[in-house]
Subunit: 490 residues, 2 copies
């Protein structure tokens, strides 16, 4: 960066950004050459970097060399075709271009006036996505509802929980907070308990209802109904239910129609978290998984998971946007303006925790336009088909079992106990298998525990994953299993 500080010179931007494009394109070209799970040790980077920021400028080439030699070894490659851990976090050409454009414009869209296009495109694109998911019209921005992009599903559940809390407290007075009871299952994402804690809901008033294999880890309407009745009898105030379509552990699907009816007849806010599986519901044959969403007060899916929209982009819809605004609005003098004061516009600052916000709708808009819904459906179907094939491979090997019903693109499986060993040693064996395959760097998988069994999770969904990667991953798993079983029998 010669010639003094020109921090936003258009031609310097052009020159440097073209270099960065090639760096990133080369990264994708070579992505299979990296270990999927980073193999560095804690503290590795501090030894490689100086103790303080430089006084004088360094060159872009020096920085890129450091990215290559010091940063990338410490990256776990979520975009690798051999990434099968957690859930996917899709990047795509369209999503990446949207991020570039958003960073290029770099506006802070807290109120409509700070960039009308940012607010309006977000409303429009979330209406598009709601229609693609066949959500009830009440979730569209053309009525009393609407969609908003949150950073993550954690923030989505927090804002609706706050809206639900404040609706009740407005009616009953602030001291009722100690009596509010929220409901979820033991398969619900930890974000819900965290949201309760943030909101000041008493930990002992957070009902985590047990599920088991008999319902494929779905929340039972009876247990919800019983819990609500007991709580009411104890003088408590049920106020919130989070149901999940596609749980993190095993992609269980809670029965929305029955849960929704119980929620509504008891005046609960009914939130549906379909962070991962929501994307599949753009395919008509998978749409039935969210049947019952018409009972929901709010609905969430993460376009940044399995919908080719770079992180972060969590889509949240509510039927009554005024409940969010009543809970989360602020109106300091320095943000007042005619459009806001005249109630002519949506100011998304009042739908979220932070004030500032990025132009995230651009990337979702570009994904929808540059790919089109038919291609996006084909993309989802392909991953589900690859997961089905992996499940078949597991079933063909008698040393393994499939450990939960596969609904989408996640396969839960494990090495079966051999006749000599019990549950505990089987669990240890599966833990060792996880470590063994992940430390090859050839693939990255994760785990969960279901009914006390340590279970391996194989989540298909990276944009570059093809059948050959799934087959190769299975081969590595089989080889490592053979080695472990051999050792355990010696």
């Amino acid at each position: 960066m010669d010639g003094g500080l020109k921090p936003m010179d258009a031609e310097q931007l052009r020159e440097c950004a073209h270099k960065m494009v090639d760096f990133i394109a080369d990264y994708y070209k070579n992505i299979e050459s990296f270990p999927v799970l980073s193999q560095v040790q804690p503290g590795y980077l501090r030894e490689l970097l100086p103790d303080s920021a430089p006084a004088c400028p360094e060159s872009l080439q020096d920085v890129l060399d450091d990215v290559q030699n010091k940063i990338l070894p410490g990256v776990t490659h979520w975009q690798s075709p051999e990434y099968f851990a957690y859930f996917p976090s899709n990047s795509s050409v369209a999503g990446f271009l949207g991020e570039m454009l958003s960073a290029g414009i770099n506006m802070v869209g807290f109120s409509w006036i700070t960039s009308p296009a940012a607010t309006e495109l977000e409303m429009i694109v979330l209406d598009w996505l709601a229609k693609a998911l066949n959500l009830p019209d009440e979730f569209l921005s053309t009525g009393k509802g609407g969609g908003v992009i949150q950073g993550t599903a954690s923030e989505a559940v927090l804002v609706v929980l706050l809206a639900a809390r404040d609706k009740v407290l407005t009616r009953l007075g602030k001291d009722a907070i100690g009596k509010l009871v929220g409901y979820s299952s033991d398969q619900t994402h930890s974000a819900v308990l965290k949201a309760c804690k943030i909101a000041g809901i008493h930990p002992e008033n957070c009902r985590v209802l047990k599920t088991d294999a008999s319902s494929e880890y779905a929340l039972s309407p009876e247990s919800l109904s019983d819990a609500i009745s007991q709580d009411i009898a104890s003088g408590l105030i049920p106020f919130f239910l989070c149901a999940t379509v596609g749980t993190t552990s095993s992609t269980a699907v809670d029965p929305l129609p029955a849960l929704g009816k119980i929620s509504n007849s008891n005046g609960l806010w009914f939130h549906v978290d379909a962070a991962y599986a929501g994307s599949a519901c753009i395919c008509p044959e998978f749409r039935h998984y969210i049947d019952g969403v018409e009972e929901a007060t709010s609905f969430n899916m993460n376009a940044h998971k399995w919908f080719l929209t770079n992180f972060d982009c969590s889509a949240l819809w509510v039927k009554d946007r005024s409940a969010l605004v009543q809970s989360l609005s602020t109106n300091p003098e320095f943000l007042q303006n005619k459009a806001s004061q005249g109630n002519l516009v949506v100011d998304y600052k009042d739908w979220q925790i932070p004030l500032g916000r990025r132009f995230r709708s651009l990337k979702l808009w570009m994904v929808l336009r540059l790919y089109g819904l038919e291609n996006l459906q084909a993309y989802i179907r392909n991953h589900i088909e690859l997961a089905r094939k992996f499940e078949e491979l597991v079933k063909l090997d008698p040393r393994f079992e499939v450990a939960a019903r596969r609904n989408f693109s996640l396969v839960c499986f494990r090495l079966l106990p051999t006749h000599q060993n019990n549950l505990e040693s089987a669990n240890r064996l599966n833990r060792e298998l996880l470590d063994a395959v992940n430390s090859t760097g050839k693939l990255f998988i994760s785990h969960t525990v279901l009914s006390n069994k340590y279970v391996l999770r194989f989540a298909v969904g990276a944009p570059l994953t093809e059948e050959r990667h799934v087959v190769a991953a299975w081969t590595t798993l089989q080889e490592k299993a053979s080695g472990l079983l051999r050792n355990s029998q010696e």
Copy 2:
């Protein structure tokens, strides 16, 4: 996008992203040709876009044409050199490159294992920045403290307020929540009251202490001390103070040393919000503004405001990271791993509201390296000098007054009342002047109210702003003022 869906093909990425680079570089080349404040009417975009997402792919050229013709007219150009509203939100070549790289890698760094480099670079770079700001060593990650990148100052204040709340509630029991009292001034950012509300602090226990012109709108230690004494006498529990260095309205500076001593002797969590002005404190001659930060429990500055790091990048430091973790940690089975369980690493998920997080340290690292501290100091000094020159221009025109002390790069000013008019009509005149200049599209300024006076805010800080832009803005202001004054006297 021909030939079926290849959502992350390296060569398609290369080709499309090079096009996007040129689009964005051209945007910066022509940025002065746009009206700074978008002149569209509410609802303009819905008429220009279809009702639903396309079934089939569209071309990148079509999308870019729509960006040019439909989106950009609805953008308020925060990067324009004539943007003087709110506070700046800097973009830069380095910041933009960092965003590109982060979007390219697109990992979700909730735990160390999900990309060790993301966690470790963040720790290192926030140590660099802490040293550049000459923060006490207790804020460094090498001890018990450390830095973390939050999205915004709103999230920064929320997480420390939650940590402060839970420290007290752990000691006194959860029912004490109704007695907790938080303190700030009437100049403190609205984010603090919002954070209190989110955390379940009773609204009537949020003390908003009055300031006035006599202290240049700084919080008076006496008023804090009195309020704390009264609250203790009433059986309430003071727990949190937010002081500000560089308030949003007028860049007032609260007296940290005195406030800190009162906080500490009463056991309050003392948070210092220097979201905007913190950047200036890398210059030795401005460092005194945060003298007293050694008394603080936590400190925040937004690198995305005036430090050339694209939005979002809010740097938060705490002296005791365990307080954050105790309040915000979750540990579900599916996220457990050896490094985390062994307590060998930092998992930033436990320092923030959301679970997922982007690789935001890359952009801050690139800003520090590609510019170097000396250039960054020169950048800040230049803006402060431009603001000083604008202030001189205001002072030379007897129709105007400077309405608050200028500490950094914000000038608060207003048209004086003429002898015929009172405060109210002077306020109306200034409102009209704001509308008049903003609707020219030639510049964008904002406003506030100080001691009941409607005051115009002229905030220098966009990366492309030069002296000629400041002078031209003043000329437009003078012209519009002359017109309004002529009309008001007819």
